[in-house]
């Protein structure tokens, strides 16, 4: 299956504040642009995979998007792994195509928590609310504290991730937050839930993004100009809630990456650029470790001195990531991976031939990995 399936088109809305736009409307805009990018008509689309808006669950949402697209897909619906859903949808689309269940799939996501409601991200965590246990940030902070204690990870290491993403976002005209960050400013920014500061936390954003998935053969038949082959994908599920998780400092991101790299038949050393889900800075540090880019506990050294910035050994989040481009649930990272493989990114990594993209959801409950190629 390696390389048989391609991403044939990508599309996105503006990111940031889009008052008055429904998530359905943003999904349609993203899909329209993905079809235009591939220069194909929507009539060939026979599958629609949708991640429901994180800020508001809604029954039969996948069918509502399909209706708005004027499509009656052979396969369609909502896939829920929280923030890991988008890459997982692309992988299920690939498997469905291989199994002959469909030929051309749209996978899309849109949300509007910035002008809509952010309550879902701040809600209480069950009966434990009586102890003041609220919000997604606190779960990641709990993990970050343990990682710092076990491995000596420093605030400066978290800062290195934020600084890299903000530097890259500053160069991206579509990014929501375009102000670069210095270590000094990071260290003086306020704590939200200690040890995490404001600059460790991703943006809240309105926006949508979509990809068009089909076989390489179909892309040739349709005359698609810039198909990007999918070499591998994988998933992993840590599942346990943070307090019940036997270990806090590693996740099933490791399983997800092993599956994807085995399928792709490539190694970590073949990766030229990475888009690593950065809902919080600690997520990037742990994903780099769990993927094997460095040993557990050595990520602080790995990310220092600009190694993950453009021009460094492994540039990450070259369009700014969730910390700077848009705080959406991960499809935008796939789009940047596709641009890097086409050679059309704003901050292009020269000669990049392989890109790994990670998505993760909940509080490191779910993980998915995608490996793209330029070949």
């Amino acid at each position: 299956m390696r390389g048989n399936i391609v991403i044939a088109g990508i599309g996105q809305t503006a990111f940031g504040k889009l008052p008055g736009r429904s998530t359905i409307s943003m999904n349609v805009e993203a899909c329209r642009k993905a079809l235009a990018d591939a220069a194909i008509d929507k009539s060939v689309v026979d599958a629609v995979f949708v991640k429901y808006p994180s800020s508001r669950f809604e029954g039969k949402y996948g069918q509502k998007v399909a209706e708005a697209l004027g499509l009656q897909p052979r396969i369609g619906g909502v896939w829920d792994q929280a923030g890991a859903s988008n890459i997982s949808m692309i992988s299920f689309a690939a498997m469905a195509i291989e199994a002959g269940q469909c030929e051309v799939a749209l996978a899309c996501f849109a949300d509007n928590p910035n002008t809509g409601s952010r309550k879902v991200f701040e809600r209480s965590l069950g009966d434990e609310a009586a102890y003041g246990w609220f919000g997604v940030t606190a779960g990641y902070a709990m993990i970050a504290r343990r990682h710092m204690a076990e491995y000596g990870t420093k605030h400066e290491d978290l800062a290195a991730v934020a600084i890299a993403c903000r530097r890259h976002g500053a160069a991206n005209p579509n990014a929501q937050l375009r102000s670069p960050l210095t270590l000094e400013r990071y260290m003086s920014s306020r704590f939200i839930v200690e040890p995490l500061r404001r600059d460790d936390c991703c943006l809240l954003s309105d926006g949508g993004a979509a990809v068009l998935v089909m076989s390489a053969r179909r892309a040739r038949e349709l005359g698609v100009a810039h198909p990007v082959p999918i070499l591998g994908f994988g998933q992993g599920q840590t599942s346990w809630e943070v307090p019940q998780r036997p270990t806090l400092t590693s996740t099933c991101a490791a399983i997800s990456a092993q599956t994807a790299f085995r399928m792709a038949g490539v190694g970590l050393k073949d990766i030229d650029v990475a888009q690593i889900y950065d809902c919080f800075t600690i997520t990037v540090l742990m994903t780099l470790e769990d993927y094997g880019f460095c040993k557990k506990g050595e990520v602080g050294h790995f990310v220092r001195e600009g190694r993950i910035e453009i021009g460094g050994e492994l540039p990450i989040n070259t369009s700014g990531g969730l910390l700077s481009e848009t705080g959406m649930g991960g499809m935008q990272l796939v789009l940047e991976g596709v641009r890097q493989m086409r050679g059309s990114a704003t901050l292009q990594v020269p000669g990049a031939r392989k890109c790994v993209v990670s998505n993760q959801g909940g509080i490191m409950h779910t993980h998915s990995t995608l490996i793209l190629a330029n070949e």
């Binding site: 701040e122 809600r123 209480s124 965590l125 069950g126 009966d127 434990e128 609310a129 009586a130 102890y131 003041g132 246990w133 609220f134 919000g135 606190a138 902070a141 709990m142 993990i143 504290r145 343990r146 204690a149 076990e150 306020r190 704590f191 939200i192 839930v193 200690e194 040890p195 943070v242 307090p243 019940q244 806090l248």
Partner: protein, 134 residues
């Protein structure tokens, strides 16, 4: 007294009622699987190890260790706005289960894996299982 009326009290269900009742009587309890012996908190209907449904309650020693903790500098619920900054911690009981809690004496110095001891405190008419570092 808006904090009083808005305080997020635990939702007592048939599954969790024994836990909260025992706590109000001064005992921290956890579930023990009658089939495989696994220990659990919070209460669940089936054992997640052997899937058996014969879960009984045992009283914890009250001894444990601090797994991790955070300090809130932002109140996500107005009932906690007056407490900022406040800590929330994960404690692992010596019997195995882990729970969300607060450390009542953070000024004593918090460090992961530090031993802790149960302190039951009343909060808006409900007994909560808190801990002090020892």
């Amino acid at each position: 007294m808006s904090e009083q009326s808005d305080f997020p009290l635990p939702e007592i269900t048939p599954l969790t009622e024994p836990y909260w009742k025992a706590l109000s009587e001064g005992r921290l309890t956890f579930q023990r699987c009658g089939s495989c012996g696994a220990a659990w908190l919070p209460a669940r209907a089936e054992c997640a190890r052997c899937l058996g449904d014969e879960l009984g309650w045992e009283t914890a020693s009250g001894r444990g260790r601090l797994v991790s903790w955070v300090v809130y500098h932002h109140a996500f619920h107005k009932a906690f706005a007056q407490r900022l900054p406040y800590n929330v911690a994960i404690v692992e009981l010596e019997e195995g289960p882990r729970l969300i809690t607060n450390i009542v004496n953070p000024q004593a110095g918090l460090a992961v894996d530090r031993p802790v001891q149960l302190v039951i405190e009343q909060e808006h008419g409900v007994a909560l299982a808190r801990f002090r570092v020892v």
